[in-house]
Symmetry: C2
Subunit: 115 residues, 2 copies
């Protein structure tokens, strides 16, 4: 998990993963949108490869990169341990909002009956 | 997101978050299970704090740390962009497994009819 999180802690590497959701791509294609040298992109791909987030085909000259989503499932599953905490937080905000609305309605009703 | 992922890329910091799911805790309590010096734990808490993953109460001497799950919701939402990729992968494995089982059943049926 540490290796996965470290690989994801870079906006260029996350952008490469996003690009690969559209399909396999060669290093040159991946380099284009970033105005980056090929060696710089290759270094990012190595980090992604070590984290198991991409694989590279070994066939022929083209050697496209391909997204591997299994480590992202592991990240998603891990965040699941904390779901109840952010849901509780939103539930508390919901309750607060509802209370504010009820107070406002009560005030409006009071104003109407005062007329 | 980069700050969040960098903060999560350390097993001690993830263990601190896991501990905080049980409730607020002071730095000394958080240091105990890790056989770590207080300054070392404080450095980890600073990284978690900068990422918005914990807050520290400013009241009194105790100043407990508290889990803040909102950045983890952001991580969970981000992984959602990749869900169809890991599900596709598991669907393909399922299909492969089913094919293997059907082949095996067909072979068993053939063996039975040969008897």
């Amino acid at each position: 998990m540490s290796v996965t999180f470290a690989a994801l802690a870079d906006p260029t590497r996350r952008a490469i993963l996003a690009r690969l959701t559209e399909g396999e791509a060669a290093v040159t294609e991946l380099a284009e949108p970033f105005a980056m040298s090929l060696p710089a992109v290759s270094r990012h791909l190595k980090v992604l490869g070590r984290a198991g987030l991409i694989t590279r085909s070994r066939e022929g000259q083209w050697r496209p990169c391909r997204l591997e989503a299994a480590p992202l499932k592991a990240v998603s599953d891990w965040t699941g341990n904390y779901r109840r905490f952010w849901e509780e937080r939103f539930d508390r905000l919901d309750a607060l909002l509802q209370e504010l609305q009820e107070n406002e309605q009560a005030r409006d009703a009071q104003t109407d009956s005062d007329r």
